[in-house]
Symmetry: C2
Subunit: 203 residues, 2 copies
DNA sequence: TATACAGTACCAACTAGTCGGTATAACTAA
DNA sequence: TTAGTTATACCGACTAGTTGGTACTGTATA
């Protein structure tokens, strides 16, 4: 073995991630990724065989980070409360705190990809879809438990409400960017939270 | 006067719009825009002085189209019902119908721009923000009227609910693209509608 | 007779990607 | 111990092609 290459690989990934959120990967040249990572072209093409390869590796990387983060959050939330509805509400609050109000480029890599045809390969799409489905499935499951436990019939199905979490999540990023105000993200997630609470508490 | 140039100009705009939604304007070359519009380079640079100029003109163009569409919708909705809440609910239904379930590239130009640094100039941002604010303001106003009329205190403020419409709207596009299923847009808008109705009806 | 193009030839800057070479470190055989 | 071997990790000049944009001539239209 020679010196450990995973460090360099991660530097490239981190560099590409930051630039992708800042200006979109399609509009970012490899030279910029390379410069930002403070490596050379040779190093880049040693680790990735093309820009497309990098794009795919990046979305895989981010999906894995998300999975770990979600896993940890679920664990914390299930320790904090035994009530399924409360668990979901807590998860919303923790999610809202993920984006600092001063964040200059709040956003989701998946959303960034899906509006840039080059990167939006079928492979990339599936990775994003899987990631989304996993998150929605957890919320849906908890809400179904809440329906049973509280013996309530919400006006919108748990499945639709779970998807709406993702909609609000993604939409809040777009709003935050358009209004140039990252705090909007937090506010929207909390609005969703409050709304959920009301739907399952009222009556 | 010679022949009317607005036709050609609109052809360019339409071409760029379609390509922007399909693969993002940043990843689209001028040659593609020109080829798609079936004109020549000379014609393009007669109407637009640069790609940036086109990008700005396009977002302005789309914002104007949106404004007209919204204006017409508001008019229809206010004819159909006198109740402010019902007007908002109707507006949701009409909005849901704007995207055909078979639409190959459902999406919002504004969202597409905001994830592509090149195009995301301060000028473009302001145009999107103004467009968003106008829509949210109408919903917020109607919901405030509904609060008074029905003498109800919703768990989330009209302002937040109005912004949530935009969040769901934008997020639904991202979901539709990620799940590769345009019908998700309609479903999410209806879910928002049903939720709104429940919040203002319950108790 | 100015406008609104078509057409084409061209350019400098940038792009993704290649290629020959080098540095490092672990393994191997004398 | 050490000289030689090998694989990995990386360097950076280079290239072929694309990009946005220019320049200029020609022509149909109102």
């Amino acid at each position: 073995m020679a010196r450990d290459g995973t460090q360099t690989r991660n530097r490239i990934l981190d560099s590409a991630f930051a630039l992708a959120l800042e200006k979109g990967l399609a509009a970012t040249s490899l030279d910029q990724v390379i410069g930002n990572a403070d490596i050379t072209k040779g190093a880049f093409f040693y680790h990735f065989k093309s820009k497309e390869d990098l794009a795919l590796a990046l979305v895989r990387h981010v999906a894995e980070l998300d999975r770990q983060q979600t896993e940890a959050m679920v664990k914390r939330v299930e320790e904090l409360s035994r009530d399924p509805l409360q668990q979901v509400l807590l998860a919303c609050s923790l999610t809202a705190d993920l984006v600092a109000p001063s964040e200059p480029n709040p956003g989701c890599l998946f959303a960034s990809y899906c509006y840039q045809g080059d990167l939006w390969s079928e492979d990339a799409r599936k990775i994003c879809e899987t990631s989304f489905r996993a998150q929605a499935a957890w919320i849906e499951g908890k809400l179904k438990q809440a329906v049973k436990k509280h013996n309530i019939k919400p006006p919108v199905s748990p499945a639709q409400l779970a998807q709406m979490f993702l909609s609000v999540f993604e939409g809040a990023f777009v709003l935050a960017r358009t209004y140039n105000d990252a705090s909007l993200f937090r506010k929207q997630i909390f609005a969703y939270r409050d709304m959920l609470e009301a739907l399952f508490t009222a009556r």
